[in-house]
Structures are given as C-alpha cells and as structure tokens.
C-alpha cells in the first residue's frame, strides 16, 4: 500500500539530486583512481519484486545521516571521517559450522548476481528512510559454504582497525561491532548483503564495501563493513545487547508495541517528511516474516 502524503517542500530537495550525484560520482571516481588505479564502474543490477514502492530518500540524506560509531557517535561524523577507511583489499571470512569454510574477496562478491532492493529502514531512534540497496541474498553466500546441522545462528563482525576508524579509539562500544541472526532469519529471502546504493558502490559511511541489510529489524542489526561471518550453535553476543541488554534485545524486530525504555516506538519520522507516521509491525514486512516468530512472546524476545 502506497500512502501518498501532500508534497511538502523538503529541505533535502533544495540541492537538486542530479547535481549532488555528479559531484559524488566525480569524488568517488577520483578516490577509486587514486586507491586502485581503476575507475569504479556503476553496479549493474536487476530490479527486485521485493522492493517497496515507497519513494527512496536522496543519496545526500542516506549518505550524510548515519549511525556508524566506528567513525563517531554524531550522525554527521561518519560522512566526515569514513574517507580514511580502505576498502581494498577486502576479504570476508565465512567459517564455523560449515562444510566448506573459506574467504571471499570483495571482487568476487561484487560479481554475484546483483539486485536492486528498495527497502524501508527503521532506526531504533525513531526515524526512518527508504534506501535503494544493491546486493544479493545472504542465503546465496551461505549455501556456498555448506552449513551443517549445528549451524543454528550466524554471527557477524565488523572490521576493527582504529587507525582508519577513529571512533574505535574510544570505548563507546566493545569493538569489533558484532551482530547476529538466527539461521532461518539469515536464510530469509529479504535478508541481503548490500554492496551498493543508488547504482553505485556503497559510500564508506554506509558500510562499504559490504554490509548486511535486514529490513524488518531496527537498523543497528544491519551490521556494516563485514569481515567475518561465523556460523555457530549458540546465540551470538551482539554489540548493543552487550552495551545495554535492557534496551536492545537479540531480535530487535521493529515492533510498535514494544517501546524502547526511553521512547515510544509507535511512530516514526520518515526523513524528508514533516509529520510522523505510524510504525508498522516488522517495519511493514510482517506478511513475509511474521511466521518466523510464530509462538514466540515478542515482548520477552524483543
């Protein structure tokens, strides 16, 4: 269902997107030339039927308002400081309870059949965006390593490199950033690994070169700049849960009925909109994912 809102003049629309794109592509292009000696080609992708029809936020919104504590706790800091992160060479180790553990180079991952997935993203802080990710299902990667029957959970880790990630020099969180999914959540067709955004590679502040996207969970579950994926029998420790278990559960499903202790989750402010809108159960992906949690008490397993 597409809910049209009256067209407010959005502050984000004052700079025409085209102008911003050109500047961004020029900058990304020159950065790529300097680092790797090659130009970064736009990512070719297929449109996905799993995309929402909501209007995506501008690249400026998506790339200048980020929570990425490795580069600072203020939302403007990732865009300011993530330039120092070197995303080449980059490997993602996939191991644990699998038949064929191995490491994937980023070049190989970029060659997976890519899809554009326009997803809603709901931050636990009460704001939301619509983001046109480019990526591929996590399940297609996991199938390549042949998980065994003990693989009940998937643990993810972000790069830990304080020399390039200035936020890691302070101990706001216990680095490296960790996240986790249950196996069925990880294998769900909506769960993707994103390598791009708006038909180009991910900006560093959005989790370059590869990040997780789980659209029915709060944004912090979608771990950025992944270097390790570990399949295991036990439920993995996750960063925000370790930092404050009372406020951030393992599941972290978007749920308007379970408040964050300090603020209501009943509504959200879509970036670019003036009025708040009601938050939907599972961020509006309930038809696809509610069955994963049948029989569970979502107040306890929040």
């Amino acid at each position: 269902m597409l809910i049209k809102k009256p067209a407010d003049i959005q502050p984000s629309e004052i700079t025409p997107e085209g102008v911003y794109f050109n500047r961004r592509q020029f900058m990304l292009g020159s950065a790529g030339l300097l680092l790797s000696g090659e130009t970064l080609a736009a990512l070719a992708s297929k449109k996905s039927p799993l995309s929402t029809s909501d209007k995506p936020n501008s690249l400026k919104d998506i790339s200048s308002y980020n929570n990425f504590y490795e580069f600072g706790t203020d939302k403007s800091e990732p865009a300011m400081y993530a330039g120092s992160l070197k995303t080449r060479p980059w490997n993602v180790v996939v191991d644990g309870e699998v038949g064929k553990p191995r490491s994937f180079g980023i070049e190989e991952l970029l060659k997976q059949p890519l899809e554009e997935r326009i997803y809603r993203l709901r931050c636990v802080e009460g704001w939301s965006m619509v983001i046109p990710w480019i990526g591929f299902p996590l399940s297609s990667l996991l199938k390549q390593v042949a998980p065994n029957s003990r693989a009940k959970y998937v643990a993810f880790e972000t790069l830990q490199r304080p020399s390039e990630m200035p936020g890691q020099r302070s101990r706001v969180l216990d680095w490296p950033y960790r996240e986790g999914l249950r196996m069925d959540e990880a294998m769900h067709p909506l769960t993707i690994l994103a390598v791009g955004l708006y038909n180009d590679v991910l900006p560093n502040q959005n989790g370059a070169p590869i990040r997780l996207v789980v659209p029915w969970k709060y944004g912090f579950k979608s771990i950025k700049s992944i270097v390790r994926i570990h399949l295991q029998e036990q439920m993995p420790a996750t960063s925000w849960n370790m930092a404050n278990a009372h406020e951030y559960g393992f599941y972290s499903n978007v749920n308007p009925e379970v408040d964050h202790p300090r603020w209501s989750q009943a509504s959200e402010r879509r970036i670019g909109e003036f009025l708040k809108r009601k938050t939907l159960m599972f961020n509006g992906y309930g038809d696809q994912v509610a069955s994963l949690y049948r029989g569970m008490d979502l107040r306890k397993n929040f």
Partner: protein
C-alpha cells in the same frame, strides 16, 4: 526617577554605556537561533526536527550555565558589569527552553496531548526536562523590577530555583543519550564546578 537623576547626574550617563553592552550581548545571544535557522532553511539538516530539538536544548543548558557563571566571575574578578547581564542571560535560557519545549510539542509530537502526558509520566528523561521547564517559568515571570520589589527577600529565595533547574536540565540530557556521554558529561562538569564554587564559599564563610 527624576529625583534620583538630580541627586546623581552620573547615573544618567552610566546606563547609556551599559545599554551598548546589553544590546551587543542581546544580539550575540540570538546568533545560535540564527545559525540554526540558517542550517534548517539551507537544507543542511537531514532531520531538521531532531536538529532543532538538539540545538535549542543544548543552548538552553549553555545559557543556564553562563547565567550561573556570572556570580563566580564577579566574585573572582571584582567586576560589577557582568551582574547587569544576568537577567537577560537567564531570560535567554528560558527563551531557548521555550523553543525546545515548543519543538517537542509541535514539531515532534504534533499536539498529541495524551501521547505527551504518557511520555511525561513514563519516561524519566522527559519527566525531569518538563519539571525543569516548569520550575524555570516562575523565574522568567518574576524577573522584572516590579516583581523584585514586590517579593523583596523572597525574590532571592525563589530564584534559587535556578539550581534545581540546571541540575534537572543536565540530568535530562544525561538520560536521553543512547551511549556516548561526552557532551552531557561536559555540562555536568561545568555545573559541578559552578555549584562547587558556591558551596566552597558558603563553607568558608560559615567557618
């Protein structure tokens, strides 16, 4: 008034000199608002409501602390002129606090009164923020010469409410932060120094 002026001709000149200082500080105190308006109108704030809430909130705290710094500054330097700015600075704290509260009521909650009442009761950081605003209101109302005269010694007692107001304000900021306490800690440390100085003087005088 006329009799006063006749008794002391210098008094007529003196206010004029201080008026310039007052006007300059008055304009200076509006700069944070002008800056915020500029950032919002130029589209630099991706989440304008959050930005306005944050900046009016931190400026409320800043003006509270600046106001509380006036007495120590006077005591340490011996200057008299800072005291003439104190009322205006305190009123600016109230002004930015009112903007902060209006942003919450209008732009954030959009006059959802039951929702706000629920927030005030259930969420401690909102409870203390709201309490701070409530306590600041009588101070703003009684800031005039007329009220000073009417309340006499009680005026000073009443205006000691500025201490709980500042404490609640810092607590409000402390409790709303998700993880990184650097900024609320900065305000807490400054407030501790300003209150510590008063405590030190009181103890020294009584001993």
């Amino acid at each position: 008034m006329t009799t006063l002026r006749m008794k002391n001709p210098a008094a007529a000149r003196q206010p004029a000199r201080f008026n310039w200082l007052k006007i300059a500080v008055f304009v200076l105190c509006l700069l944070p608002l002008a800056r915020a308006a500029w950032i919002v109108l130029s589209g630099d704030a991706v989440n304008p409501v959050e930005f306005i809430t944050r900046s009016t909130g931190t400026w409320t705290l800043s003006f509270l602390l600046i106001t509380l710094a006036i007495s120590p500054l006077r005591q340490l330097s011996g200057w008299g002129w800072p005291l003439r700015l104190r009322r205006m600075l305190g009123l600016y704290a109230f002004f930015y606090g009112s903007l902060h509260l209006s942003t919450y009521v209008w732009l954030d909650q959009f006059f959802d009164w039951p929702g706000m009442l629920h927030d005030i009761i259930k969420r401690p950081f909102i409870t203390v923020g709201f309490a701070a605003m409530l306590l600041m209101t009588p101070l703003a109302i009684t800031s005039t010469q007329g009220w000073m005269k009417r309340l006499k010694r009680n005026w000073g007692k009443l205006h000691q409410l500025v201490y709980p107001v500042a404490l609640l304000g810092v607590l409000h900021y402390w409790w709303l932060v998700k993880k990184d306490l650097t900024q609320p800690m900065f305000y807490a440390v400054v407030l501790a120094v300003l209150l510590g100085w008063r405590l030190y003087r009181r103890l020294r005088r009584s001993s």
